[in-house]
Symmetry: C2
Subunit: 396 residues, 2 copies
């Protein structure tokens, strides 16, 4: 059964250490404060922590700008009232794509303050993308009147696998120009505040449980169908990263053992059948210029027979791969996102047929399959949510 709220506890690297314990205790205090300001004595009562522990943590939160205090009286005695600085502090979400960049500013109370996207040239270098992000963030801060010092950190989405042992983009990325660069280090140099990087599909998943209609879902898979196909996982209420950080590579599930060669070096991977690249190849024969994903959506909605068949074949293959995945991790919800989301049931129906055909019956019957409603904002919103996640702040 889903847990009604998410927690970052199990991601603590060493649960027994003093700093991990302090982090855990700070989270519990923040969770209490998200219900409104509270006195230190009341925080101690609600958390079971000693007043000395509460007082120490509140001091640290005050120093880092996360909280402020003011004298008050409680039951006729002098007390210290603590409140979260949710209006002042700002989290940034940055989404780097093959040909776009989107930046959002969000308050710690989960309110989007400002948001803008710009186009980037195809094949741009990482440095070019980073400079564009710095400029766009400065513009958004100026427009919204927020101070740069109020930024507690930025989440950054990259469309490619990230090797968490080295914080670099691994081979197989949709952004080949970024492979091997220590993105986190480069971005921290450029921005001078804490940076948290993640894969775009992982951020899609985090976005769905943070900003989308699926808050409270403990086990969710977000599947992005684009030039590549990848999935992000929320398992037991937390983003799931596996051993080295490369998870959800469902685009490389083998569908046809003797199928086409894939860019990963294998044969017959789902991406060779169901990515927008493959659909565009199949549908652009005889066309003056290659189609775009938007063309596919437009033509399918206009009931073009060839487009409908290509989408149906792709959907069935995606559903087969998802059936095998659902058999393994039994998610409550599967959300499909990416540039074809506008297809709605034209794409969801064959995916559902494939899923039900290949999942064991009880899993086919109990898995909810739905299209993302966040569209092209999913990754940037998820990136901002990554900051809340690291700060241990959850939506109330």
């Amino acid at each position: 059964m889903p847990s009604p709220s998410r927690s970052t506890r199990s991601r603590t690297k060493n649960p027994g250490s003093q700093s991990a314990l302090r982090h855990l205790n700070q989270q519990r205090i923040i969770e209490c404060l998200l219900n409104g300001p509270s006195t230190q004595a009341e925080l101690a009562r609600q958390t079971g922590l000693s007043t000395a522990t509460v007082s120490n943590i509140v001091k640290i939160m005050q120093d880092s700008g996360l909280a402020s205090t003011e004298p008050t009286t409680s039951s006729g005695r002098r007390a210290l009232n603590v409140r979260l600085n949710s209006n002042g502090a700002v989290a940034v979400g940055i989404d780097f794509g093959r040909r776009h960049l989107r930046v959002v500013l969000a308050s710690l109370s989960y309110h989007v303050i400002a948001e803008e996207s710009v186009l980037l040239p195809l094949g741009h270098h990482a440095e070019q993308g980073i400079q564009a992000a710095v400029a766009l963030l400065d513009k958004l801060l100026a427009d919204s009147g927020a101070e740069r010092t109020a930024v507690v950190g930025a989440g950054v989405g990259i469309p490619g696998p990230i090797d968490r042992r080295t914080s670099t983009v691994a081979q197989g990325a949709i952004l080949p120009e970024w492979v091997g660069i220590d993105i986190q280090e480069r971005l921290e140099e450029a921005f001078q505040f804490p940076i948290f990087i993640d894969n775009d599909s992982n951020l899609g998943a985090l976005s769905e449980v943070t900003w989308g209609p699926h808050s409270g879902i403990s086990n969710l898979l977000f599947m992005k169908i684009g030039s590549g196909i990848g999935a992000g996982l929320i398992l037991n209420g937390n983003p799931y990263y596996g051993n080295v950080g490369i998870t959800g590579e469902i685009g490389h599930a083998t569908i046809h053992e003797h199928g086409l060669i894939c860019r990963c070096g294998n044969r017959g991977c789902l991406e060779t059948i169901a990515s927008t690249t493959t659909m565009i190849e199949l549908l652009s024969r005889g066309e003056e210029r290659p189609l775009t994903p938007e063309d596919i959506v437009r033509k399918a909605l206009a009931r073009d027979a060839a487009t409908l068949r290509v989408v149906d074949d792709a959907g069935l293959a995606v559903g087969r791969a998802l059936g095998n995945v659902a058999n393994l991790i039994n998610p409550e919800v599967i959300v499909v996102g990416g540039p074809l989301a506008g297809l709605g049931d034209i794409l969801l129906d064959p995916i559902r047929r494939g899923l039900v055909r290949h999942a064991v019956p009880v899993i086919g019957e109990t898995t909810t399959l739905t299209m993302s409603s966040l569209n092209d904002r999913a990754e940037a919103l998820g990136a901002a949510a990554l900051v809340f996640q690291h700060a241990g702040i959850r939506r109330t």
Copy 2:
């Protein structure tokens, strides 16, 4: 990176509730006490909890027999020393198979006190299995001189999917006679102490990180190859159960879309290619009586060519399914168990070839594949570990 110790925190159903908070605080106290006896004041200092909170929880633990207290002096002042009753209290592990039953008794300090297995007739009814388990437990308690009142609970393994919404064995079980029975209720009636039920493959996974050589591994997959094929998952350091409790159904991954019909109703599932049932069918033609899994191990070790080929084909198919699984959840370790474990590298080599062929390169390179060393004890030991897991007691 793996967490050095496991925690049940993220399984708390409602992290904000009072009882969940008490449970969390009790776990922290038990974690401290596993390092040795401690005064209440010291426990408060180590956990950051108030002395009143500590004193309440110690009282509850004392009432349930988990802990005992004795007066002492600390810095010249009177104090209360608390110790875990690890010698007195006992956890039971019960493993029901198609034709066997195994029971283990373990102390809360992870010491196996007694262990025995008996044969059950093929096609036995649930009631018959339960009565045999009651009798075998009574014998083990008598033999080892342990009191029945010292049993804090029993974990029970069933070779079939368990629908956690109803605590019943779901369709598709290797024990069809048990399908639809509320096992937990029936066992609690029979034993009169708390019962925790789980699937045999899940218990294999828990066993590997509890009793086996993989303690401290946060992301592990245990794959049982037997009459059926199933997997158990440890993710982010915790057993993973998904939405309705039916996970790891890797035996029903589609390998050949137009392959043989599987008992699940699909076609070309991994089980139709790589289960011991299929291997036995392939190798028993012309034999006077059907082979057993032990015969397969014996013949393969004697380098019988047909047996080696059947094992190789099965291993490649298993490896292909595991490659797709590893692409999704990026486990650190994959452990293969079940009655063919004695094949060693004869089975592991083709599995590894299939895994490396179908996984994306970095995942193929970084995933450790190994044979279980727990043999037929894995499930019963895992069942006992389920009790520690629920009591929040972890190995030190």
